[in-house]
């Protein structure tokens, strides 16, 4: 954007081409600004008014003088901070605007970092529509990598392109396979939505197969684009449904383009081996998990719609690194950023209760807020729970650790009780009776720290295993001298 602005002021005599450039350059900052108000129409925040974003117009003007002067990047950054640092975390409407920009459900108008994959899918569909042929495509990838979102965009783009190019735009049918009660219902859904004209009753699959095996009388039937989400719900024991679905695209007069979305990379190989023999293996497009740079870029794109600087750039980078190292799941990154904003909100609220001065240092989400949010998202509650268990339950866990150190992995309640009683006696603590011991074991079982098996007769014969790691118990209890000596 700075370079466009420079070119605009330098080349004053405008040729028509440059004029288009200028209109393009003004269009780019405008779309992110208009989009939030468009997006807000389905919902309404309780206390937001149309005039609650007064700073939008000022940002455009304020950017130009900074970029035209020659300053070092660090000075520019601090200037940015000092000039645009008018985000007030105490303003509820601004906080809600930030949270909405970071919410998973707000789909950005353009999807970044997935251009390559979208292009591949779009080219494939375009080729199918141009040649009026059928085809199948399989999109795979971890959850949270943007598959369903990009398929939506591609189908919209395809319809637009078909209209512009004079082709018959295809009908789009999006099915989420979790909503089907039985897997063979998918054919019924294809038929019942009226996309395929079928005469008479009978199994929908038969109809489709018949329809696609014969040359159509009327050439006015449209191409059908089927987007099947969560395809692995269609996998049955004999894999018939999935196979039939993909075979529909191989029939001679078939007019459907099938895009299947799932998580498993080798679904096509494992469950559709017969397609290889018919030479109709679906094209596979893999959506890799997001890398740190991609996550950072997506977050920055989302935050660009806001007029203020909300996050310290290092905080965003920390979040991107941690999430990319863990799973590469975009939903998690967005959720962590939202909870970092909440941490800041809570801090501001506490400081407002303590003192009334308006401190400027609190105004952005810094690394410590982000670190707190990350630890909340990635930490398991096991350590905290073990530390806050009542004493006898902790002794049970310790005696279980000592008992299982010898290499055995499970035992019965009676043996554990003996070990528990020994531990108690060695530390001069009166042990509790067997019935209370059993109820404590049941409580630990409910919480998922040990696993209690079934036993028909005596309760003392139930099998007990430790489900939490020994290292966790050691770490949690190391602060208490009693348990430290116990666990040695």
């Amino acid at each position: 954007m700075p370079s466009l602005a420079v070119s605009r002021s330098a080349e004053e005599p405008l040729t028509p081409q440059k004029r288009r450039l200028r209109s393009n350059s003004t269009a780019a900052p405008e779309t992110p600004i208009y989009a939030p108000t468009k997006r807000k129409s389905p919902r309404r925040c309780l206390d937001s008014t149309p005039s609650s974003h007064p700073n939008f117009s000022t940002r455009n003007d304020s950017i130009e003088p900074i970029s035209n002067s020659s300053k070092s990047p660090a000075e520019e950054l601090s200037d940015d901070f000092s000039e645009i640092l008018n985000w007030n975390p105490r303003d509820a409407s601004q906080i809600s605007a930030v949270k909405e920009a970071l919410h998973v459900s707000t789909a950005p108008p353009t999807i970044v970092c997935r251009e390559e994959e979208q292009r591949r899918v779009f080219d494939f569909c375009r080729a199918c529509v141009e040649k009026e042929q059928s085809g199948s495509l399989y999109v795979c990838g971890c959850p949270g990598t943007g598959k369903s979102l990009s398929m939506e965009k591609v189908s919209n783009k395809l319809i637009e392109w078909a209209r512009d190019g004079g082709f018959d735009p295809p009908e789009v049918l999006s099915i989420n396979c979790t909503a089907l009660t039985s897997s063979s219902q998918i054919f019924g859904k294809i038929v019942e939505n009226g996309y395929v004209k079928v005469k008479g009753t009978g199994a929908p699959l038969q109809h489709l197969q018949n329809l696609y095996s014969q040359k159509q009388q009327s050439s006015s039937s449209k191409m059908l684009l089927i987007i099947a989400d969560e395809l692995d719900y269609l996998i049955t024991k004999d894999r018939a449904v999935l196979h039939d679905l993909f075979m529909l695209t191989t029939l001679p007069f078939s007019r459907c383009i099938l895009i299947g979305i799932a998580n498993a990379i080798d679904l096509a190989d494992r469950f559709l081996p017969k397609l290889q023999s018919v030479n109709c293996k679906p094209l596979v497009v893999t959506y890799r998990a997001y890398s740190k740079d991609q996550i950072l870029r997506i977050l920055q794109e989302r935050l660009m719609v806001l007029p203020h600087v909300v996050f310290h750039p290092q905080a965003l980078e920390l979040c991107a690194r941690k999430v990319a190292a863990a799973s590469g799941d975009m939903r998690k990154a967005l959720s962590v950023c939202r909870s970092a904003v909440e941490v800041l909100e809570a801090e501001v609220r506490d400081s407002r209760n303590n003192m009334d001065s308006d401190t400027q240092e609190n105004s952005v989400v810094k690394i410590d807020h982000m670190a707190a949010a990350l630890s909340k998202a990635f930490r398991t509650p096991v350590i905290d729970t073990i530390q806050s268990l009542p004493q006898h339950q902790q002794i049970i866990l310790c005696s279980a650790v000592k008992f299982f150190r010898g290499g055995k992995k499970d035992t019965i309640v009676g043996e554990l009780n003996k070990s528990y009683v020994e531990t108690c006696k060695s530390r001069m603590i009166p042990p509790v009776g067997i019935s209370e011991f059993l109820s404590m074991c049941r409580v630990l079982n409910d919480q998922g720290l040990v696993k209690l098996g079934q036993s028909r007769g005596d309760d003392k014969l139930k099998r007990v295993t430790l489900t939490v790691d020994e290292a966790d118990i050691n770490f949690a209890l190391q602060g208490v001298r009693f348990f430290r000596t116990c666990l040695q």
Partner: protein, 417 residues
């Protein structure tokens, strides 16, 4: 007389307070750090800012998860009437997906005064749910889904969880999903697609610290000044109670009680027994009430059984224990008699009884469930030949014999060896 009736009224008041979870947990809702305020903040931001949230309440049974949630929901319903509708599901009842969707549709129909048809299929119910979410989103009404026993919903294909969490990712719906579970790893049980859609917020309900317990005790047990009880009785009651609560011995008793389980529910049960044992004649609480409560919770039924046994039965139990310590895995009445005879030959005690008397004592032990047959086969055989096993542990037997009123010393000697 008047004191007695006042004491009974006070007891009733305290007992009704202890059985009312919203009263109990109101005491904990004050501080900004508590789970109540965190939950209220998240839910009210969902309602006012229209952002969808999902979170999990974790904690052992009886730590007040459902009670705090109900408190928060009641407060929000008062603050924002007509803007929240609550759908409650339980993992024990609505485990099956069909059943769960039917129940959601039924509750939505009841809330919005629509007709519910039992014949609606799974498809119809899920379409209805999606349509209702969209309608409520347009009308700015938040639907709160409360899923109790969340870990039981994670069995099977997790279709319900997927549909609910997926619906929250769309922009048209305004909903919040709150899962309540006692398993700490409830979110590890979710499939990876469902886990990715879940927002990983967890509220941990840890056992209360000592100052919270003190605050709770004061909140529950002190009589209010504006009740139907006369002021002087109430002040006298409160002063006596406060002196008991400040006593070191009471703190010992409480610490002892809470060392085996420290959830709030457990504490309330203790207080209930203590309040019920207030002596109406004296009319005021004392330390003994709490001591009786503790001893009633620390009962050892099998050890008390030993108290009622005769000396011959104790001999038989000792013989059984000696056989077990000699690594003899299965034994029956005959082997016990052999051991019994050998003891008498060795020690020349005076308790030598005839075989049929011993058999009678053996049968009494079977009836009292201190020993039992080790398997159900051989029901045709007589009692003498069937193998038995002992149901009382060595430790309990030792303690029981030590507490026995006039036990011959030889028994303790025999057990110790």
């Amino acid at each position: 007389m008047a004191v007695q009736s006042h004491a009974r009224d006070a007891q009733n008041l305290l007992r009704s307070r202890l059985c009312n979870p919203s009263f109990v947990f109101k005491a904990l809702s004050g501080s900004p750090d508590s789970n109540y305020s965190k939950l209220k903040f998240i839910l009210s931001s969902s309602v006012t800012e229209a952002c969808n949230n999902s979170l999990l309440l974790l904690g052992p049974r009886g730590s007040g998860k459902t009670a705090v949630l109900e408190l928060v929901l009641n407060d929000l319903l008062e603050e924002y009437p007509d803007m929240i509708s609550v759908i409650r599901l339980n993992g024990l009842l609505h485990n099956d997906d069909n059943c769960a969707f039917k129940e959601i549709s039924r509750q939505l129909c009841m809330e919005h005064h629509l007709l519910f048809s039992k014949m609606a299929s799974f498809d119809d119910n899920s379409q209805f749910l999606i349509a209702m979410l969209r309608e409520c989103g347009l009308a700015h009404k938040t639907i709160v889904f409360v899923l109790e026993e969340f870990d039981l919903f994670a069995q099977g294909k997790q279709r319900l969880l997927y549909s609910l969490l997926d619906a929250m990712q769309s922009i048209t719906s305004q909903a919040a999903v709150i899962g309540i579970s006692c398993r700490l790893d409830a979110d590890q049980l979710l499939e990876k697609r469902v886990r990715s859609r879940f927002s990983h917020r967890k509220l941990l309900f840890l056992p209360p610290s000592t100052e919270i317990i003190e605050r709770l005790l004061q909140h529950i047990l002190l009589l209010p000044m504006d009740s139907t009880l006369p002021n002087d009785y109430a002040t006298q009651f409160n002063t006596k109670l406060e002196s008991v609560l400040a006593d070191e011995r009471f703190k010992e008793i409480l610490k002892n009680y809470l060392s085996s389980s420290s959830t709030i529910n457990h504490l309330l049960r203790f207080l209930f027994v203590a309040v019920s044992s207030i002596d109406v004649k004296s009319g005021y609480p004392s330390l003994d009430n709490f001591k009786t409560a503790l001893s009633s919770f620390r009962r050892q039924p099998k050890q008390e059984c030993i108290k009622d046994c005769s000396i011959l039965e104790l001999y038989i139990l000792t013989c059984i224990r000696r056989l077990e310590s000699k690594e003899q895995k299965s034994y029956n009445f005959n082997s016990v008699m052999k051991e019994y005879k050998s003891i008498h030959d060795q020690f020349q005690t005076s308790d030598d009884y005839a075989r049929n008397v011993c058999l009678r004592a053996f049968e009494r032990l079977l009836q009292r469930d201190l020993i039992c047959f080790s398997d159900n086969r051989g029901q045709g055989q007589s009692v003498e030949f069937r193998p038995v096993k002992c149901l009382i542990s060595h430790f309990e037997l030792q303690e029981g014999i030590k507490a026995y009123r006039s036990c011959p010393i030889i028994l303790t000697k025999l057990l110790d060896r």
